[in-house]
């Protein structure tokens, strides 16, 4: 868990980038920070690995104040995907990706197998790409390598600063899905900065909305959408997106079967596919479980977590994601 307590950052030129921010990033969850340009997202994130230091307040990682931690050592344990990719152009993909494990003193074979595994996980064929140089890769591939490099040392905390910002919508969607799937396996504490609401809604467990160095709202995607704290948040989400959610939240679950999963945990509450998405949200919340089983037809069961329900609520028409 990462905890900010009354953190203020004032740059030497007087700019106050953060104003008494208190926040928690829960462990094993993906928290998205969202807000307009210049609101302090990058600054906030860089405080976690001490690339920036607070002028007031303290940051705790697992309740240890980070001022007590040695910065080089701390950074090696935190994965970092920077806003502008920043691959080392003179090193091959393999050398780029191996850097942190090497700094950590891992044995060669362990590094090699780890990189191999991560390349495959992010959809990059190791045989094709490991010996190439960054400039021989497309923008999307470079961003994937950026992610591989950040994950290589098996850090528990990963900071990602608008990692998909430079991509075309298709690669972007694809990488978002991949990240989501990856997170299901690796369960890291991820801080994800973005200024794209759709991206945040899609991948985050928790969303933090910021404005001018302050936190406006913290909540799950459903909470932020369903219950914006103030006009700023409402405008930022976009009235359109909120309205879209309402009517379609009234549609039946059975219309969205393709979004749901075929497998899920046993012993969970089952609902009929004829109830509305909105009702399903309520049932899920009351049950206190992670998933809902949905009966469709005679003997078919599909499974949905809050995420899938949210997707359903946001779907404009069958097959078309808002």
């Amino acid at each position: 868990m990462i905890r900010f307590e009354g953190v203020t950052k004032q740059f030497p030129d007087g700019t106050e980038a953060l104003k008494k921010v208190s926040l928690t990033f829960p462990s094993h969850q993906l928290t998205a920070i969202i807000g307009p340009s210049g609101c302090g997202k990058t600054t906030l994130m860089k405080m976690v690995n001490k690339l920036e230091k607070p002028t007031q307040g303290e940051i705790y990682i697992d309740e240890k104040p980070i001022t007590d931690l040695e910065e080089v050592e701390l950074r090696r344990k935190i994965g970092y995907v920077i806003q502008r990719i920043g691959l080392f152009p003179h090193m091959t993909i393999k050398e780029n990706a191996s850097l942190v494990p090497k700094l950590l003193g891992w044995p060669k074979e362990k590094i090699a197998s780890r990189i191999q595994e991560l390349m495959e996980l992010t959809g990059l064929d190791p045989d094709t790409y490991l010996e190439r140089y960054p400039l021989e890769l497309s923008g999307g591939q470079q961003q994937r390598v950026g992610v591989v490099r950040a994950l290589a040392g098996d850090p528990n905390i990963i900071l990602m600063d608008e990692p998909f910002s430079a991509l075309d919508p298709i690669s972007r969607e694809q990488l978002q899905d991949e990240l989501r799937n990856l997170q299901q396996t690796i369960q890291k504490t991820i801080v994800f900065v973005t200024h794209d609401m759709d991206e945040a809604l899609k991948i985050a467990d928790t969303i933090i909305v910021m404005r001018k160095g302050q936190v406006e709202q913290v909540g799950s995607p459903a909470e932020i959408l369903g219950n914006p704290a103030n006009d700023f948040v409402r405008n930022f989400i976009g009235v359109e997106r909120i309205q879209r959610q309402r009517p379609f939240g009234d549609k039946n679950l059975s219309e969205f079967v393709s979004l749901f999963k075929e497998d899920g945990p046993d012993d969970i509450q089952e609902v009929s596919g004829t109830i509305s998405v909105k009702e399903a949200f309520e049932v899920l919340e009351k049950s206190g479980q992670s998933h809902l089983a949905i009966r469709v037809g005679h003997n078919r069961r599909v499974y949905a977590s809050e995420r899938e329900l949210l997707k359903a609520a946001l779907l404009k028409e069958e097959g078309e994601l808002v």
Binding site: N49, L51, V72, E73, L74, R75, R76, K77, I78, Y80, I82, Q83, R84, I85, G86, L87, F88, P89, H90, M91, T92, L99, V100, L103, Y133, P134, L135, E136, R149, L159
Partner: protein
Amino acid sequence: MNFFDTLVSRQDMIQTAFLEHIYLSFIAVAIGIAIALPTGILIARYRRFAEPIIAVTAIFQTIPSLALFGFLVPLLGIGSPTALIALIIYALLPILRNTYTGITGVDGSVIEAGRGMGMTRTQILRQIELPLALPFIMAGIRTATVLTVGIATLATFVGAGGLGDIIYRGLQSYNNSLVLAGALPVALLAIGFDLILKWIEKRTTPKGLKL
């Protein structure tokens, strides 16, 4: 007397002058690198010192070479050390400036990535900044070498020998062949060094940057 006869009859003298010339240039560039490279690295780290230090070396550079030799003689007398010091002064600027611009020109995002990944300052310098700045540094060394080979021709005026000796003697005795016998090797030396160092420059350009 024809040029080839001159070459043959003055072979020993030309050879000595040639070796002296290479020796002077080589030592001057070597010491120039030893001073300018670390200084360039330092001013790239402590940038507020960069401007004044580069400005001072640039002023030295603008002093006409013959005048600089002239200034040094009253201070240091006549002989190779005087010539060397003058040559070193000229070699400094290209190496210093290129080292500085090479390092400071490394993309900030790359440095930030290195810091964020937990590399120490020394690791960043050795593994990122220097390799990426190397083509610039080599270009600076090449410029310095060519410059030094040319200016070393004036070493003869402070009694430090070199191919300038031959040229000067030829001029004094109205012997065009002798002038040529000194001038030609200087030109060839400059061109030769330029080619060799250009080749090294290409070899040191990191592979990933040549794409």
